[in-house]
């Protein structure tokens, strides 16, 4: 009896203690939340939300269904094999007339021409001779205006373009499209297939720049890590020096240095190494030179911080065990820098594939990377769907790399 009472009171005490702990932790949690909140809100409002909305543009498809609500509605019940019903033709006439009034016509024709380029003339022609309400059969009247309205494929394209969401932009960014006749995904026409090439070029330039940064940065980082503190701090400032000037100034400086009668070409000619100036700028060479220079610190810093934490003992131990200094370096030192190599390589590669200013200034037409086309669609043709589709794919590539990196570092931490 007394024993069970003791257990009961013990339980009550435990519950009481847990409640106390929760209470104590609650105020701690609230405090940390309050500390995070300003930055969190800032990121949410100024970063996550705008990017999120922008990303939805890659699948968003408002033009047709907002300009042609009645036709969209009517096409929903269409079987897609024969010509649509008389009512659909009625709706089309009505929608075209109101679209003309509300000024949504431009966006509408542009969107439809993505599906079938000839759609533009079909709409203009139809609008000029829009059948009035006296026509008994809108279907016959429209087909009389343009025979395209008697072609099932044009209706299929219209239906496809009228959905609220579309894979059109994302597929186009990968040089594919949905064939409106069959509904299957097919390769885009060769004259429209440019994006896969651009992605390949982007990853190629990113890869070359990353490897160059690694080859140039690794020895520097190693040297810095082995120097005494005072000297390495001074030299670290030199490594960070590029950050003190703006990216555009540095890129412009490269143009001055690399151009045909620039410092480098003149020196080469003066020394008699070349007879005529070498083309170093406004081509791939210039892009790679300038980007490698700009991105070097991002490789050196993570490598340095990892190397700094490796005690010199390890290499000494390996040598004392009979390894030649090169073998000791390769088998004992280098593997321990993998975390820095992964971080530096990833950082450099991700920054490189997103580069815009440097290739735009020192590159030629064939050296422009994905970001250039994002800017092109955003600023020049105002095709936000295409711009955000390219951007999304770039973002996905980056996220995949992060996942790979996470896996790699997790593995090394598990040890």
């Amino acid at each position: 009896m007394s024993q069970s009472a003791a257990i009961l009171s013990g339980k009550a005490e435990a519950v009481d203690l847990r409640a106390k702990l929760r209470k104590a932790e609650r105020s701690y949690k609230l405090k940390s939340l309050a500390l995070i909140a300003p930055l969190f809100l800032f990121v949410l409002v100024c970063f996550a939300f705008p990017i999120g909305t922008m990303l939805t543009r890659s699948v968003d498809n408002p033009d047709v269904h907002s300009a042609m609500p009645a036709t969209t509605q009517a096409l929903k019940s269409w079987d897609g094999t024969s010509l649509p019903s008389e009512g659909t033709f009625d709706a089309l006439v009505k929608d075209l007339a109101s679209a003309k009034e509300s000024g949504q016509l431009g966006a509408l024709t542009k969107r439809l021409s993505y599906e079938i380029p000839a759609y533009r003339t079909v709409i203009t022609k139809t609008l000029r001779k829009l059948p009035d309400s006296t026509a008994t059969s809108k279907r016959e009247a429209l087909i009389a205006v343009d025979s395209a309205w008697g072609d099932v494929n044009y209706w299929k394209a219209l239906k496809q373009a009228s959905s609220k969401l579309t894979p059109y932009f994302l597929l186009a960014a990968l040089d594919h499209r949905v064939d409106s006749a069959t509904g299957s995904i097919v390769k885009a026409e060769p004259n429209q297939s440019i994006y896969l090439d651009i992605f390949t070029r982007t990853f190629y330039i990113g890869g070359v720049v990353t490897i160059l940064c690694l080859l140039l940065g690794f020895p520097v980082a190693y040297w810095l890590a082995t120097l005494p503190e005072g000297k390495s701090n001074l030299l670290m400032i030199c490594v960070l020096l590029p950050f003190w000037t703006s990216l555009i100034v540095r890129t412009a400086a490269w143009i001055v240095l690399l151009q045909s009668d620039g410092l480098i070409n003149r020196s080469l000619m003066f020394l008699g190494i070349v007879d005529a100036p070498v083309q170093l700028v406004f081509n791939r060479t210039g892009v790679i030179i300038a980007m490698t220079h700009v991105l070097l610190p991002f490789m050196i810093l993570p490598l340095y911080s990892v190397m700094k934490s490796i005690p010199s003992n390890y290499v000494r131990a390996a040598i004392s065990l009979g390894a030649h200094p090169f073998v000791a370096f390769w088998r004992v030192y280098v593997p321990q820098t993998f975390a820095g190599l992964a971080a530096g390589g990833l950082l450099t590669f991700i920054l490189a594939i997103g580069y815009y200013v440097t290739p735009a200034l020192v590159g030629g037409a064939a050296d422009q990377m994905v970001s250039y086309f994002v800017a092109f669609y955003t600023n020049k043709t105002v095709n936000w769907g295409m711009a955000s589709a390219l951007g999304s794919l770039l973002l996905i590539a980056t996220l995949l790399l992060y996942v790979v990196y996470g896996k790699l570092t997790n593995q090394s931490q598990a040890r």
């Binding site: 003992n313 131990a317 390996a318 040598i319 004392s320 065990l321 009979g322 030649h324 088998r331 593997p335």
Partner: protein, 359 residues
């Protein structure tokens, strides 16, 4: 010569004017366990690193089996080394760590596996082969480091404060384990430490370093019982120093006078002229206490510390404070209180007249 290692007139300086090691001469016999003991900055680690090949002597020559070492790079010396903090390769398993010295020697994988297995057996870590160093305790890592330094069967093994990072109990256990391996395998060990009890426990000979010079090299018992320098007397164990004036000497003994006029007879170690100062050194446990007035020498008790099995008294003799007396609790007397005087004496062979240091 049957010396495995000989340091001949070795000098080392890093900056060109401050010597770290001054004129080191040391011969180590095959199978010997020699400890270099000294405070930090005394040159003991530098000496070890010169032997391993990671530092080069500024002057002099080191011989290994009578061959000069100066042109032999460290990876060809075939000297096993255990580092402070073990230096186990963190990206390799224990097995791979042990196989490393064998694989750089191009040993075939069958022999390699066998040797690794035997080395793991030797340090009783057979079940840990697949683990990474970070998954093991300090004591286990220490044993792996030991096994790795021994797996390629070097004749000479160097150890640079290998037990410094372990707690006391583990350290004492490892001291014995290293000692046993030394006996079993017939190794020659050069061991660096600043821990005097470690040096006394393990070594055949202890070389006490200070200021880049070996102050004394001898067996642990001789180092403790018969120090030849007051630095050694003070560095090893507890010691009392009385400063006295040299009066005269006969064959083996020195007579010196304390400031209160009492004459003390001590074993002569240092040469001195009348009027010179000498340091008379005696261990606290060698002091005998009798009733007041029974001997010519009187000490006044400044502090009295009870430690269960023994007592310590800090006393003042002839105006010199901090003279420590250590007595078994059984010889305790209740009349010994702070401020009272006692008579002390010692056997003349336990007090030694040494040089006066500025320490």
């Amino acid at each position: 010569m049957n010396h495995l290692v000989s340091f001949k007139n070795i000098q080392k300086t890093y900056d060109g004017f401050r010597p770290v090691v001054k004129d080191l001469n040391l011969d180590i016999k095959e199978g010997e366990f020699v400890t270099l003991l000294g405070p930090s900055g005394s040159g003991k680690t530098t000496s070890l690193m010169m032997l391993a090949g990671f530092e080069t002597p500024t002057h002099g020559e080191i011989f290994l089996k009578d061959k000069p070492l100066h042109n032999l790079p460290p990876h060809k010396r075939d000297i096993g080394m255990v580092f402070q903090n073990y230096a186990l390769f963190p990206h390799m398993t224990i097995e791979q760590n042990l196989a490393f010295p064998l694989s750089v020697r191009k040993m075939n994988s069958v022999d390699r596996k066998e040797k690794v297995r035997r080395a793991l057996d030797m340090v009783k870590l057979t079940d840990f082969a697949k683990r990474y160093p970070a998954q093991m305790s300090g004591g286990q890592q220490q044993r792996v480091a030991l096994a790795r330094a021994l797996v390629f069967e070097p004749k000479l093994v160097l150890m640079d404060e290998p037990l410094g990072a372990l707690d006391k109990q583990l350290r004492e256990h490892m001291q014995l384990e290293i000692k046993h391996l030394h006996k079993q395998l017939g190794l020659t060990v050069v061991y660096v430490t600043h821990d005097q009890s470690e040096a006394l426990t393990m070594s055949d000979r202890v070389a006490v370093f200070n200021d880049g010079v070996i102050q004394q090299i001898d067996s642990p018992a001789a180092i403790y019982e018969a120090p030849t320098k007051s630095f050694v007397a003070q560095f090893i164990g507890e010691n009392n120093t009385l400063i006295a004036t040299f009066v005269s000497r006969d064959e083996s003994h020195t007579i010196a006078r304390l400031s209160d006029g009492s004459l003390i007879r001590a074993i002569s170690v240092v040469g001195a002229k009348p009027g010179d100062q000498v340091a008379l050194c005696i261990r606290p446990e060698r002091v005998v206490v009798g009733p007041a007035g029974s001997t010519p020498l009187t000490a006044r008790i400044q502090e009295y510390i009870y430690l269960g099995d023994h007592v310590r008294m800090i006393t003042e003799i002839a105006g010199q404070p901090n003279f420590m007396i250590k007595l078994p609790a059984s010889q305790m007397d209740s009349s010994w209180t702070v401020g009272s005087s006692i008579s002390i004496s010692w056997a003349p062979e336990h007090i030694r007249a040494l040089d006066v240091t500025t320490h």
